[in-house]
């Protein structure tokens, strides 16, 4: 083949491939418009005001298609599938307690997306903002509203890399003092001080004393439940095979996801509740694998997200292992129950 012909073949092929590439991009951008249209049969959503101090409401990220997609919305906790009120604040992950909210957002830059955490007051006004080093995963506020925590996935830099690490940060919302990563805390594992390069923390949950928190620590392929002390800056392992702990309002039990042998690698978790006094585990009645940091609706009921048609749906199950899992709201994620 002459050089001329080779160039012609290349040009023709590039033109054909460019058409395919352009078509795929146009197809994907048309999707944006579809998602801004309200779906028939979806929940009724109206714009309105939200305060984080109204007891008996559930605040969450609305995932239903339409103009209020991804905004914070509220429903009465007694009617979680009822009409929604949207507040105009977009969050990927959210949590609130005692009039303080934490909202993890994506910031669309020109070259890449970055992420940040906003601390919100009761009227959803931003009081502080922090950089989040990766894709937001979990968010929590202490029962007092004095501390907020978030976890992000930080990607590796490898060729077709598939390893990730997590970064868990805690901030004092009164002083603004940030602990960028729990890795700076002293780790006591099985009674000894522990150092390792492969330590990861995620899924912080706070007790009401403004000092104690619980989280997952992962190292050497195992996960541990740790009890943390914000004043002593230590974490101590107290149980194994615990991920995404969530402390009950009365502070006696922890709901968590446990990696169960024999389940498929894609869906390895089952929901459990750990009694912190007896250290006994109770298997919950949700038969499917759950990948969420559950929340407590009250001292007896647990709410969590499962994959759904519009991203995620919310389900509830009793905390004592009885009963059945029940879908309480569609196209919703990151719920917080205001008390």
């Amino acid at each position: 083949m002459t050089l001329r012909n080779r160039v012609l073949v290349l040009v023709a092929a590039v033109a054909a491939l460019a058409v395919v590439a352009l078509a795929s991009v146009l197809h994907a951008s048309a999707r944006a418009e579809r998602r801004n249209e309200t779906q028939p049969g979806g929940p009724k959503i109206t714009a309105g005001r939200i305060t984080l101090t109204t007891p008996g409401t559930m605040v969450f990220r609305n995932m239903a298609w339409g103009p209020h997609r991804d905004e914070l919305t509220t429903v009465p906790a007694s009617d979680p599938s009822g009409p929604r009120t949207a507040a105009g604040v977009k969050c990927l992950r959210f949590y609130a307690s005692s009039g303080t909210g934490v909202c993890l957002q994506a910031v669309h830059g020109t070259v890449t997306d970055t992420y940040r955490a906003l601390i919100l007051d009761a009227n959803l006004k931003e009081t502080a903002r922090y950089d989040v080093p990766g894709i937001p995963s979990r968010a929590r506020v202490s029962p007092t509203g004095h501390f907020a925590a978030w976890t992000a996935f930080v990607g590796g830099d490898s060729y077709a890399g598939t390893n990730f690490s997590t970064r868990a940060a805690i901030v004092d919302t009164r002083t603004g003092k940030l602990i960028p990563t729990l890795e700076s805390f002293r780790i006591v594992k099985d009674g000894h001080v522990y150092h390792a390069a492969d330590v990861n923390f995620w899924g912080v949950t706070f007790a009401s004393d403004d000092r104690t928190f619980y989280a997952t620590l992962a190292t050497k392929g195992s996960t541990y439940l740790v009890r943390g002390d914000l004043r002593a800056r230590t974490v101590t392992t107290i149980h194994t095979n615990v991920e995404c702990p969530s402390l009950s309002p009365d502070g006696t039990r922890i709901a968590f996801k446990k990696r169960v042998k024999g389940l498929p690698k894609d869906a390895p978790w089952h929901l459990y509740v750990l009694n912190l006094r007896t250290m006994r585990e109770t298997s919950l009645a949700e038969p499917r694998s759950v990948d969420d940091q559950a929340v407590w609706r009250d001292d007896h009921t647990i709410v969590y997200a499962m994959p759904g048609d519009y991203g995620a749906d919310l389900y509830s199950v009793t905390a004592d292992g009885t009963g059945r899992a029940r879908r309480i709201s569609g196209a919703a994620v990151s719920p917080a129950f205001l008390r």
């Binding site: 083949m1 080779r6 073949v9 290349l10 092929a13 491939l17 395919v20 590439a21 795929s24 991009v25 197809h27 994907a28 951008s29 999707r31 944006a32 990927l92 669309h108 020109t110 070259v111 890449t112 997306d113 970055t114 950089d131 080093p133 990766g134 894709i135 995963s137 996935f153 930080v154 990607g155 590796g156 830099d157 490898s158 060729y159 077709a160 890399g161 598939t162 390893n163 990730f164 690490s165 997590t166 970064r167 960028p180 990563t181 890795e183 150092h195 390792a196 390069a197 492969d198 330590v199 990861n200 995620w202 992962a218 392929g221 690698k265 894609d266 990948d291 994959p307 991203g311 995620a312």
Partner: protein, 457 residues
Amino acid sequence: MYVADSRANADPSAAGTTGTTGITGTLGTTGTTARVSAAIAPTVFALGAVSLITDVSSEMVTAVLPLYLVTGLGLSPLGFGLLDGIYNGFSALVRLAGGHLADRGGGRHKWVAGIGYAVSAACKPLLLLAHTLTPIGLVLAADRTGKGLRTAPRDALISLSSTPENRGRAFGVHRAMDTAGALLGPLVAFLILRATVDGYDAVFTVSFCVAVVGVLVLVLFVPGSSSTAAPRTEKAARERVVGEKAVREGAVGEQAVRPTLRAAFALLARRDLRRITVCALLLGLATVSDSFVYLLLQRRLGVPDRWFALLPLGTAAAFLLLAVPLGRLADRVGRWRVFLAGHGTLLTAYALLLTSWHGTALPYAVLLLHGGFYAATDGVLMAAASDSVPEQLRSSGLALVQTGQAAARFVCSLGFGAAWTLWGDRTALMASAVALAVCAVFALTLHPGRTVLEPVS
């Protein structure tokens, strides 16, 4: 936290990527220089273009993969890298096999490399179909198999289409173009994500189209056999310098060597190649993987979180800028010297990380040194090894050296992780620095290939 140990797993050439500046710059030189032998062969530019295009394609996917897994598919990515360790060994075997297959049948480099590029291209649309961890893991493994398969034949083609006098520069040009692709890829991917909503399917489709262009450029513009490929083959160049000093004991034999598997391993009986391999291995054992370097940068120098993801770009940019100049330098003052100096650069970077001085310029200096280390060692090592392997076994020989180095770096990252656990980051880095210094001194005394690695002219 623990970041994937990446480049230790990937082959050395994966380390960085990039360089249109190289093209124009060097072409300009070609036009003006009187010494024909100094010109970079069109094949090298063609291969550089293939690598550039392919890296745009693969880095597009790499850049969005974490987002896709977490927000697109809702998977929990932790522990996803478990396969990496197992795959590492397999990848080494694939690379050796690729090298051997390319040598058989009198230089099928182009076709073995082509299959490698085609396999990786075919993986991109498969990502559209895979929605759970296991299929995605398999697709990524196939992608890396393609990469393992093509690396050694491609480097062999570069070395076969350059002369001993300009080989360092040829590899430099290729690595610079490669790195340019790796820098462009993420940019393209994020532009697509910006123009769409959850446009991961568009990213994968575009990535596939780009990869196909890469394969086409290879098929259309890289000559099939080395003799037709480069008008000035190595043999011709050697004939010119025979009678001077180049061809001596241990230098590449001109007699026909049949490219059997046995002959491939018998290469290690050659003193020069054995010494190069041993040195690459020893130095590899003291080369802390990139992810640890970035982690140390962040911990010891307090680089803010939001810059963390950009640190590899710093290394890549330095690699891009320095690959051609350092390749030229290697041609002029000797490849081995530049290779060792590159490790001296890495040692300096370690030293900076160990100091308690916290200047704002320090992270930049470390990244510059780190990129300089790759520029002075990655292509240069291939150029150096090429001098000690006969043409008929070029691919196998380069695969041996690459595999040895990659394996050593993997062992080092395991060891470094363990040392960090036992003693903390500072002591672990100190130990690596000492080990690197000892290995470098040892490599200096071995001085492999004094005969062929010194400048030829």
